[in-house]
């Protein structure tokens, strides 16, 4: 007869080991086929001939490299210039007062960031195009739309919300007691920011700067649509041109992709190692501090507020600032959101727009919509499985955590088009890219969303509930059963949210579908860019409206579901 310990060992072997081996196999298989083998093929082909290095220094190519880096640096600098002050302001309000307006503001910034890039490009054309709203209102035809300015403007609009969110979150880590203590000691606002708040910000600022720089280097949709051709050509659009625009030039695309990898991977390697720069002793101190704060605030938070007292508004200077502040907090992100989406809702030719709705829904739009959903679902399923495998290994094997984390962060430094090209040249003999492949599109999209999802689940997987797990094993539960009972409730909310988020991201993604489409496989974003190229903006608007509403609905559903899960967990804890 087996003893309790032997039984536990056998169960451990049968369930945990099988699962771990299975997870490792899936990871090795997926990352080898979709990432490491294709990228090594790209490197081999880039230096394939004796003159390989000379071709990489082609002056016309170097010019494109310089322009790509220039627009990315300019966009990053401007995004930080506008985003940091707003983030600091929002973070201070969140941390010191925690008002509803600041919470709403942060939500609005997150909504701005979730607008698909294609929608933003279409909206900017509708507003600032040669015959757009701006022209209708003022009679002035803006000339900056298909220039570098338009690309930088769009990049800044898109990245300011990211800066605001990151800075506000980093600021809220600074306990208000510290700022108050510095104030009592005589420190003025600027000194308080520099001496007390800046240390909390600098790591986040460094990371977000590199992230924005990389995003701007890898930006494809905005440059393709708002750049308007060769003068505003980046490495991304050149890869696309070599593969899918005019004559096929795979060797040319490989050269460009090599440079693209160099300028994007470098900051990502830096970014990954920057995670170790943060001093753990500071973090520990902060954690202790925050627990004490929450304990202390209990007294007054339980009191009910008197409506009569709250209704009393005196219009002195403080009250005006008190009214102006929340208004601005909400109006600024709302303004950005309006610029990015307003062009979708006010057709220049309403009659044509109405007829577009009727005709498109019946036939032309239906197939792209269905194909987009197929791709999105497949992308979400693949990425979820791969993330679960990585999270399981990170949770189970503490020693492997940094290695797993490193591998999962690598794809973030590779653009969709570079990865697509690598897969193209590696597996093109077996899967013809020109005949269209839902699987290849989904695989490329999965690899690009995996770093985002893994970052979310890793923070949960790396904080194992050891005490509870031991308690469960003392009660006779196997590790797998203990995992399902204790850890899974923490995992499922973020996983579900990531699943929905990856569907939403995939629906608006243009780069991967631009590489692997065919005449029968034309997903919604590609269909939109095609009809925009034919100046059928009303048709594109209809598709954009469907895409935007779907995207918002999915993300809304994700946050509602998450809230329910969080509430339930809170009830259980209470």
């Amino acid at each position: 007869m087996l003893t309790q310990t032997e039984l536990g060992r056998n169960q451990k072997f049968s369930s945990e080991w099988v699962l771990s081996v299975f997870a490792v196999l899936i990871l090795v298989f997926f990352f080898s086929l979709s990432f490491f083998i294709p990228l090594s093929t790209l490197f081999t082909r880039a230096f394939g001939s004796s003159q390989g290095s000379l071709r990489l220094l082609d002056p016309s190519l170097i010019k494109v490299v310089k322009f790509t880096v220039f627009q990315a640096l300019l966009s990053t600098a401007l995004s930080l210039t506008f985003g940091v002050p707003i983030g600091v302001w929002l973070g201070r309000i969140q941390s010191h007062q925690s008002k509803m307006s600041s919470r709403l503001s942060l939500k609005l910034w997150q909504i701005v960031y979730s607008v698909p890039t294609l929608i933003a490009a279409l909206s900017l054309i509708q507003i600032f195009g040669r015959r757009g709203f701006f022209f209708g209102l003022t009679g002035i035809s803006p000339t900056w739309l298909y220039t570098t300015s338009a690309v930088v403007f769009a990049h800044v609009l898109f990245n300011v919300p990211l800066v605001v969110s990151v800075v506000a979150n980093a600021m809220s880590e600074c306990p208000p007691e510290q700022s108050a203590a510095a104030r009592v000691l005589g420190a003025r606002s600027l000194v308080r920011f520099w001496e007390i708040e800046r240390p909390y910000l600098q790591n986040a600022l460094f990371q977000v700067s590199l992230q924005i720089y990389s995003l701007c280097i890898m930006s494809f949709t905005l440059v393709l649509i708002l750049g308007g051709g060769p003068p505003v050509e980046t490495l991304e659009t050149q890869i696309f041109t070599h593969l899918r625009y005019g004559t096929l030039n795979v060797r040319g695309a490989i050269k460009v992709a090599f440079w693209q990898l160099c300028v994007t991977l470098m900051p990502w390697v830096l970014l990954h190692f920057s995670g170790f720069w943060r001093s753990s002793r500071q973090l520990n101190y902060r954690v202790n501090y925050r627990v004490k704060r929450s304990e202390r605030s209990g007294g007054f938070n339980r009191l009910k507020e008197l409506p009569a007292h709250l209704a009393e508004v005196r219009f002195d200077r403080k009250s005006l600032v008190g009214l102006l502040q929340p208004s601005l907090l909400i109006l600024i992100p709302l303004g950005v959101l309006v610029i990015l989406t307003a062009g979708l809702w006010f057709p220049l030719q309403p009659s044509s727009w109405i007829s577009s709705w009727r005709s498109l829904l019946s036939d032309e739009l239906f197939q792209p919509l269905v194909q987009s959903f197929e791709i999105a679902l497949l992308t979400a399923v693949i990425s979820l499985i791969v993330i679960l495998c990585g999270a399981w290994i990170a949770w189970r094997y503490v020693r492997l955590r940094s290695l797993v984390s490193f591998f999962y962060s690598l794809p973030a430094g590779v653009s969709v088009l570079v990865l697509g090209l690598s897969i193209w040249i590696t597996w093109g003999k077996w899967i013809d890219p020109f005949s269209g492949s839902v699987l290849l599109i989904a695989v490329v999209q999965s690899v690009t969303v995996i770093p985002l999802g893994f970052r979310v689940i890793y923070s949960i997987a790396s904080t194992r509930q050891d005490v509870l797990l031991s308690a469960a094993s003392v009660l006779g539960a196997s590790r797998l059963i203990a995992f399902v009972a204790i850890e899974w409730p923490r995992w499922r909310g973020p996983l579900l949210r990531f699943f929905l988020l990856s569907i939403s991201l995939s629906l608006g993604e243009l780069a991967a579908v631009s590489l692997f489409y065919s005449e029968t496989l034309v997903p919604l974003p590609l269909w939109m860019s095609r009809v925009m190229g034919r100046y059928r903006f009303e048709d594109a608007m209809v598709a954009g409206q469907i895409l935007l509403v779907t995207s918002f609905l999915i993300q809304g559903l994700a946050s509602v579901r998450l809230k329910k899960v969080a509430n339930r967990e809170l009830e259980v804890q209470q």
Binding site: S179, G186, S279, F300
Partner: protein
Amino acid sequence: MNPAQPVPPVLPVHSNLRYFEARNVELTIAALCLKANVKVSEQERVAIQGASGTGKSSFLRYFAGIQNELGSQSRVESEGELWLSGVRIDQLSPENRDIGLVFQDGALFPALSVGENVSFGLKVRHVSKIERLKQAEEWLKKVGLDGFSGRSVSDLSGGERQRVALARTLILRPKLLLLDEPFSALDAELKVGLRELIRQLHEEFPVPLIFVSHDLTDVENLATRCLRFHETTDLKSQRIVRELVESN
């Protein structure tokens, strides 16, 4: 003494001694109203004693001018006057009040070393670096942390943190010293040591001292006077009113 009776003035207004006075102070926090009429001389160590969540710390924060800066959900509305050695301070910003406040956990700045924390106030007053370091070393010695100047604050124990926070405050020679639950995070042995240190420093550098504590032992061993809350309900406004009164 009748618990509802306000605290009688200890000192005449035009005394040469340093003193702190809170005149007809009324703090409104949502449905709660806190009232105080307090006068403290430089020889006194006054305790505000009461259970957690009653509003003790709110008074200290109000005296320091930071009542709305610490993340509370409800805004604190205030009325009344604060006087410090003949100067009205309730209209002044916290930076200009010349008050020292030691927080419950010390609120040390994690990015700065122990020495930099202690000399922070001198730095913002543009004192030279050599002078700052010299004074910081002196004060660290006074609080029993000689040689700690270069250490990180995250390496300190709870008691050491409180000593650093005390040195950081006293180095500026404030006109009023406020201690917000200074012993709450410490074990019994450390409490005794810190209480003794505070008593010694207060005797060496007399300054009106008010501290908040929920522990009667702290009050009995350190305070020269004790205040506590007398609670009533204002039937008209349906507010809970807590007034600080002298405790026996």
